[in-house]
């Protein structure tokens, strides 16, 4: 950067002040990085720590951190001489280009043995284009069908696919309504026009079509919508018996608040993401009570594990944190079994093993097993309901902790 050097040579004091400030901010981190070496296995963690998905990225990072610290406290990877797990955390921001860049950086500069991340499907897919070409495993909890739908060998998806989650969101609702003595014939779908929103809406639509249920409203709206009134008016006019909103946090708050304020009392069944984090309850208060949502996993299925998260971070273990924790644990188990940090050995173990125990118990299948495409075949989505500031699993019945309350 010849321009900057010249610039700093002769400037007024403002420049010096700025340069010094930047240096001051940077120095402790640079120094700390230099000290934290030693015998360690580098694991890349790429999350959106800034931008629209920052909250989810931070939750995910916390989950990975918790498990990595536990593993290190318990003596590291034993088959590799007690090697420590060293997390290399990188911010993907919310742009796929940056996500791919940081993936390349972690692979070449930090020699990471695998990468975990990156919550949003678009980011994960961009990263996978890099990891696949380098032959390094990428473990993710992003939902999109595309992730394991491209024939990649180095990608591992610990949760069910978006289409399966969308279908479960519908099937679970029908089951819950039937148990309460109501037959659904008319439903409404509204979703944000992102990868997550559209693919899950497609699953919902398929589920409804298969069950012969009429979709009386099917609306996409832009992420970051500022006025949901037209949507809610349309919902009221549609005569739907239940509504399926699929959205991140801000939109979900607006939709539920507007519905309840207008006294539209039909059940709302959210599509995970914004509906299953503590901020949802914080933002809505009593309006959140009774709201249902699909979720790829829930913390109340394994409280003995997830309470450790609550103790450390002060809020319940949201599903993205939980699933990323599982990714970390599965990777640690694979390292233990492979007795090697070579990506080829790791990939073989990841593909051919049924991972049990540890954090995998928190998943619905109670274990993790990847098929040829890298999809965890044991994971089944669950339906959760807000009850007194907590999320309670209410469907399917074999894992349910409580019976669902239908209609609010």
């Amino acid at each position: 950067m010849p321009g900057t050097e010249r610039k700093y040579g002769l400037g007024p004091t403002r420049r010096h002040a700025l340069a010094l400030t930047a240096l001051g901010i940077a120095s402790p981190f640079v120094l700390r990085d230099a000290v934290a070496q030693g015998k360690a296995i580098n694991v890349g963690v790429i999350m959106p720590l800034s931008g629209a998905n920052a909250q989810f990225g931070i939750n995910s990072r916390n989950g990975v951190e918790l498990v990595a610290d536990e593993i290190n406290a318990a003596g590291g990877i034993k088959s590799l001489g007690g090697a420590r797990i060293n997390l290399v955390v990188a911010d993907s921001t919310s742009t796929p280009t940056t996500a791919a860049n940081v993936a390349q950086r972690l692979l070449t500069q930090n020699d990471v043995v695998a990468i975990l991340g990156a919550f949003a499907s678009a980011l994960t897919i961009a990263i996978s284009e890099v990891t696949e070409r380098r032959g390094v495993p990428l473990l993710t909890m992003s939902f999109s069908d595309q992730i394991t739908g491209r024939g990649f060998e180095n990608i591992f998806q610990v949760v069910a696919k978006a289409s399966a989650i969308g279908k479960a969101q519908f099937d679970g609702t029908v089951a819950i309504a039937a148990a309460a003595g109501q037959k659904l014939d008319k439903i409404a779908i509204m979703y944000e026009d992102t990868a997550y929103g559209t693919s899950q809406a497609a699953g919902l639509r398929d589920g409804a079509k298969a069950a012969g249920v009429q979709i009386v409203m099917d609306e996409a709206y832009p992420l970051g919508i500022t006025d949901v009134t037209p949507l809610i008016n349309k919902l009221r006019a549609s005569g739907a018996q239940a509504v399926f909103p699929v959205s991140y946090l801000n939109d979900s708050l607006q939709i539920i608040r507007a519905m309840r304020q207008q006294k539209i009392a039909i059940p709302a069944i959210g599509g995970a993401a914004g509906y299953v984090i503590p901020d949802f309850e914080k933002g809505l208060g009593e309006f959140s009570e009774g709201v249902l949502s699909i979720s790829p996993a829930n913390y109340d299925l394994a409280p003995e594990l997830t309470e450790r998260f609550r103790k450390r971070y002060g809020y319940f273990m949201v599903h993205e944190a939980l699933e990323h924790a599982v990714c970390m644990d599965v990777l640690a188990q694979a390292l233990e079994q492979a007795k090697s940090t070579k990506p080829d050995d790791l990939r073989k173990v990841l593909h051919g093993t049924r991972f049990e125990g540890g954090w995998t118990k928190a998943m619905t299948g109670g274990a993790v097993q990847f098929d040829k495409t890298g999809l965890n075949t044991l994971s089944v989505p669950v339906m959760v309901q807000w009850r007194n500031k907590e999320l309670v699993t209410v469907w399917p019945s074999q894992v349910a902790k409580s019976k669902a309350i239908w209609a609010s």
């Binding site: 321009g3 640079v30 499907s121 992102t194 990868a195």
Partner: protein, 328 residues
Amino acid sequence: MNTSSTRLVALFALLAIAVVLPFAFDPRGYAIRILCLALLFAAMAQAWNIVAGLANQVSLGHAAFFGIGAYTSTLLLIHFGLSPWLGMIAGAVLGGLAALLISLPTMRLRGHYFALATLAFGEVMRVIANSWGGLTGGPVGISVPFAPPDLAMLQFKETRPYYWLMLAALVLVTTIFLAIKRSRLGYRLRAIKENADAAEVIGVDTTRTKIVAAVISGMITACLGTLYAQFQFFFDPDTVFGVASVSVRMAMIAIVGGIGTAAGPILGAFFVIPLEEFANQIFSAQAAGLSQLVFGLLLIAVILIEPRGFMAIGPRLKRLLAREKADG
């Protein structure tokens, strides 16, 4: 005469260094990837510079052409197995048409009004790509199909060939920019920049001139969109039609470097892209979002210190030195 031949020698030396530079790096590594992106964004900012720099028509909608290029070549590749080189030509035609289409109503607008109209056009394209799922794959995005490394299919296993491609693109676009700047079109554009009414009075068809420049700029930007798609292998509407990720970034790079100059976008890209990566590398393991904050603060600082970009620093230094000499 003498200085211009020294300049030419220096330029060729610089180019020679740029050509052999990748041999100093890991052929599939991180550094070379960042160099590739810096070259690509330099070329993009240079294309933007043709309209904005020469005629002062600041566009904030160039992502529209970039996205058209990326989608056209990728869709042709997926559905018809067409080589991205041909796809690039198709994309350029569509990009040029789009530029013509948007220029007809907007080129009579000036300043902020023009910027806002183009901004809206970029957003409209993003919304179309998002909602026309049957064609574009919608918000889920599309992946460039995996192909064996082959120049004809514009796909390589290593990053090095991309580097040379991007370098060639930058050299080509810069040459076009310089050629336009020195041509009759360039003089007309600058006449418009100085005073559009005066230009009209002396016989410059201002609207037509601006449209020609916009179409050239749009076609080049579309070609670069294809390059991006083949380099990145995956994109979605928000990435290629994004205001922040493409439109504003193109403008920002040219402005930071020095708008209207040939070297400006290059300096700007080689400052902005590595700076962002550097901020990310150092700060992203710390407090969430800190890296973007630091990046933003540094950019603000640069613009506060020298609003006319790096290219204005040289003359300013000269003046400073001259003054010191006079004082001493």
